[in-house]
Symmetry: C2
Subunit: 431 residues, 2 copies
């Protein structure tokens, strides 16, 4: 960790942007590890992958048809004698001479002598078995040329590529059964608060169920990381220190609850006593104002609000990009869409407000965003149903119905009810 971890915490409220920059400035991708291709989806390549052969490895037919010599079919109709029948996987050795052709399947190698392919639809088989070609065909038609997709030694995937399904297919073409990727951060989650009841504890009417450990677990899992839940610490310095010490052994520690400045909040003083340098503890946002970030010599700590919705919104703005940066990703932030509000969104100026919304396509094809419930920070049910977080700028006193704003898409926002292919008329479909 750099020297800057020792700097004094920023006492005032930071803007979200400044807080994100502060976090990202203090982290870098973790080390690398060697993993099997079966586990590679979503990971980030630590080194380039090179092509180990030309693709296609030879000229292949792009269609089912006949491999011919262009000079034989420059005028139409022409009639050729079929001397071979070539499937994908065959290696044709018989050269095509003047007046000859070979039946050829999609993906099959073009035989020696042939320099173009005529599609089966443009041919017919005559009574004597010869092939009549109805239309003239130019050279190099419907042939995929050796190496047209990639050549031996070319970079197939640059370093720092996120392994999408398509990229995973490329790895397979390069026979990369094992690959070097950035390792994922190890993440611990600690809940804090005397009022909390563990999921597996007996029901106690005076307690509040610990939702945060599980919501945070799921947010981490959605990034392909299986976090360790450390449990619930009582808000008492010695007990807390024991738990925090354990949590600081991880790359990332998420502490839920205890971010206030109340006299009984022991999280920040205890972290400081354990050598954590705190860099900020308040951000100009709502929900989620009290959120703290600190570093140790080897890991990072986020103190998230005890309120589940606030905790989740803070995770989205700070923890998510940090986890992605640690894992080597270049794209750190949620995809956003622009949406028009169907109802007003209230906001008090001074902080960016994140409004939980559902999204629908409006009649003109734009997105319509509808705020959910009362937008109270206690309303986890609204968060559960949200497609995204609509961003109300800090200067705003609220947005009117019909005004547009950006929406950060949450997990469930990645899918929608309709195929999104537009109207039938737009598509010119027959069905």
């Amino acid at each position: 960790m750099p020297e800057s971890t020792k700097s004094a915490p920023i006492s005032g409220d930071l803007s979200i942007r400044a807080a994100q920059a502060c976090v990202l400035d203090k982290i870098a991708p973790l080390g690398t590890e060697d993993i099997a291709i079966e586990r590679a989806l979503g990971r980030v390549l630590a080194a380039p992958i090179y092509a180990n052969r030309d693709l296609p490895p030879y000229d292949v037919s792009a269609m089912d048809g006949y491999a011919v010599r262009a000079e034989d079919v420059s005028t139409a109709p022409s009639t050729l004698r079929m001397i071979d029948d070539i499937q994908a996987g065959d290696m044709p050795r018989k050269p095509i001479s003047a007046g000859q052709c070979a039946r050829i399947m999609t993906g099959a190698p073009v035989p020696p002598g042939a320099d173009t392919v005529v599609r089966v639809e443009e041919t017919r088989v005559l009574a004597d078995g010869s092939i009549e070609i109805a239309l003239p065909v130019k050279a190099a038609t419907d042939i995929r040329v050796r190496g047209e997709n990639i050549r031996t030694g070319d970079v197939a995937l640059p370093g720092d590529t996120e392994i999408s399904p398509g990229a995973l297919g490329v790895l397979a073409t390069a026979k990369a059964a094992r690959i070097e990727v950035y390792r994922l951060p190890r993440v611990a989650i600690l809940a804090n608060g005397n009022e909390l009841e563990a999921l597996t504890a007996p029901f106690d009417a005076e307690k509040i169920p610990d939702a945060n450990s599980y919501a945070l677990m799921a947010q981490v899992q959605a990034q392909g990381i299986e976090p360790v839940r450390l449990g619930i610490a009582r808000d008492e310095p010695d007990a807390l220190a024991k738990y925090l010490r354990r949590g600081l052994e991880f790359d990332v520690l998420l502490v839920s609850g205890g971010t206030s400045v109340g006299v009984h909040d022991h999280v920040r003083p205890t972290l400081a006593a354990l050598g954590v340098a705190l860099h900020f503890y308040r951000v100009q946002m709502r929900p989620g104002h009290p959120v703290a970030f600190g570093t140790t010599g080897r890991g990072i700590v986020f103190c998230l609000p005890g309120n589940p919705v606030s905790s989740m919104v803070c995770f989205e703005q700070f923890v998510l990009p940090a986890l992605r940066a640690l894992g080597g990703h270049r794209t750190l932030f949620r995809r956003t869409v622009t949406a028009r509000l169907t109802q007003p969104a209230r906001s008090r100026p001074g902080r960016v407000e994140f409004v939980r919304v559902t999204l629908a396509r409006s009649e003109c094809g734009d997105y319509a965003a509808t705020p959910l419930g009362k937008q109270s920070s206690g309303d986890l049910l609204a968060m559960a149903r949200a497609d995204g977080l609509l961003v109300v700028p800090a200067a705003s006193r609220g947005l009117a119905a019909g005004e547009s704003a950006r929406v950060q898409l949450l997990e469930t926002g990645a899918f929608q009810e309709s195929a999104g292919l537009g109207e039938n008329t737009d598509l010119g479909e027959n069905a």
Copy 2:
């Protein structure tokens, strides 16, 4: 399976929409299973979850401050004697009488007698330890009322809810350590083709590496399903039948390659011989024209093109919504955004064209889509890098630079480089 599985296949080209409707018409959510909350993210609830307590379970303070009687603080300044100090998790028994107050932390129960909370920022402690309140405070300020988020017996999450991180938090509040969800489909992947070389086979310059098994595996994995790769079948009826019989034991069989109508393509006849009812085998799309769908008494089969890009695009349009429908999801299709082309996108009319694009925010905040590479169906490298698939309508002869179209967001399209919070000026941020 319904009777309709026995209908004759549609011989002509289907529109994408009709083909999707055909697939979705023939499937329904699979059975249900009981799983642990730790594995529940992304699954779909098979039954509603009810609240088993009021939340909050009692009136709690929304702020750090003092619990007071509104009538004592209706004018300012007022001075009160502190008789208690209440943390979250405490159960205060001492009632607040006239002239008294209790220090109270965020989330702590409001003591008997008190009916409002004054924030610590609006108070000061006098020399004699009493509390001075600077401003008048109305009743019920900064109190979260018992049951304001949910009441015992209310539906916390309706059946068919997709379990987002927020929903998983709600499950925890309801102490639902195990839950009933729709089970995920069991998926098998079979590659087909004499030209294919397995990932683990020795390098053979005359073969083509099997990318499809792995790209499809990753597309299935991205839906939270671990598929079984059956391997590579030679395109010969007996060998094929053996593999296909095995594959048909799964809920979903994906066969890659062998979708052409060439004389040597044995997949469709062999499937028919094994009792599979084929419903269509050509769709008006590019890439991906030859794609077939069939049903047996208990499962479904997709025959996807041997070309990796075509195979992946067909997966997106047909297999993905089918997998989601089988797993109980209501939102079956990829999120789309509208984007403006930075370059022309060529298209031949008659089929919907899917153009692999990267996305960037343009200056005015709209999305700009840039087509990747030559858009040849062999160009898996372009597919590997694509953020989304831009949809060119079937009637179109191509789109010009500057024209808008919808883009289906792929996995890597879920994230972007910037935070999407808008400009500093928009936000009114100080930093």
